[in-house]
Symmetry: C2
Subunit: 294 residues, 2 copies
Amino acid sequence: MTAYFIGIDGGGTSCRAALAAGDGTVLGRGKSGAANILTDPEGGLRHIIEAAEKACEEAGLETTVFGSCHVVLGLAGANVEKTVATVRKRLPFGNCAVESDALIAVHGALGTQDGAAAILGTGSVFGAKKGHRVRTIGGWGFLVGDQGSGAVLGRRLMQEALLAHDGVRAASPVTGKLLDAFDKDPRKLVAFAHDAAPGDFARYAPIVFEFAHKGDPVAEKLVCEAAAQVDEAISVVLAMSEPRLCLLGGLAAPFEPWLRPEHRACVTTAKGDALDGAVSLAIERFSLKDRAHA
Amino acid sequence: MTAYFIGIDGGGTSCRAALAAGDGTVLGRGKSGAANILTDPEGGLRHIIEAAEKACEEAGLETTVFGSCHVVLGLAGANVEKTVATVRKRLPFGNCAVESDALIAVHGALGTQDGAAAILGTGSVFGAKKGHRVRTIGGWGFLVGDQGSGAVLGRRLMQEALLAHDGVRAASPVTGKLLDAFDKDPRKLVAFAHDAAPGDFARYAPIVFEFAHKGDPVAEKLVCEAAAQVDEAISVVLAMSEPRLCLLGGLAAPFEPWLRPEHRACVTTAKGDALDGAVSLAIERFSLKDRAHA
């Protein structure tokens, strides 16, 4: 019986699947809704299966092959063990490994090469790839981690705007711009923050970069602070592997010019995306296993 | 008909009321459960009325006097206008002013004198009193404010412990102690933070002071960072009034030795507590009004 490999990239906005043959040729792809198993395990599970079914259909296969498929899932929220165990038990696939969305992104970006990656979006996470092994650091979330992420940067802007409003620190065009967005009423800002998800805070990160670029002192301070934290983590992952660095995520481009010159010198284009990473990881991991059993 | 004055101090753990005559003599006191109108408006309202009823009973009065009572309420969560309006409409009192818990605390601490106060507990807020006027700054909450509060300090410790776990920053006894509390498993720490209220983070603030006192480098850095933020805000409120400073709240004593010498030199003992402040404010405000109408 032919072995098929499925890669799944499940994130906060959508879930994608690709079904491939053992040589890596993708035979079908599918896409569905959000798959954050931490915030919505039921919906996540449904969308994972739906994306895989669509990929299967596009490949001209019956979903009965699922039972003999080798699958790697990269999922947002996969660092919470209990949730992963619950979801894994209900997956219809033969062999199955649940990894973090960061791990498959690092694999996809570096392909067969060794190096490091920084994923800078709403959250932040850093990875080093050396041979078959990927180690990630960071990604602990908005409250106690994710230094240098869009969510933390947006929240820092709100903090500085409130300090400026109170006369504790100097105001600047960017703190004024933020307060204007809340009708100059700090209570509206506080009420917003009270109900805001990380993505809501992250929406304010781009204006910090925009104003920093124009020389706004508060925006410059915040970007330098965030870039220094990103640099700290990049140093750690580069030290684990080769001097090759992929910058990924929506804030990769705005951050790049603020990073240390020695880190910028290592920057290289990503070989592929997270879904590519999940597929190649499925083949790599489960083909090796099959060979080990042969 | 005799005018009675009621002061109410409603906080996150309990609600206290005192009923006084026009000369300030307290005739009765009452206590009930939590009254944070932001997180639980219904429960808050119930506890406010319950505390006032008990004070009324102790004073040997019927609750029918409520309709002619002059009341000042100092409430946690009073900076959110919509919530205040909803609660105020349903209060059974004659004249009624809703203020922040910080404002009545500043009034109580300074009594008839002018000066400043720093309230350092789970949250942080700063006030200046000049004549009848009190202005507060800070107190914007755990997410976008409350610099130098116990909640923020506890969260900063968690951030440093995770950075140490990842090898991004140096570990120290205090980061080890914190990780031990989560069975050395950063995922348990992250899961805790995900569901934690500000008070849950603040429970870790005392160990930061304890280790800073023993020379732990990470704990020292965090306390110095927090103390610098407290000093920044203290400078602002001292500049608004006289060089007299009351340090209030559960972290007042641990913070004091870390503050700037010129701020420590202004420190004075509080004249009274927040409930005293609410009562005297009720008399001051509504007696003046009555005189104005006479």
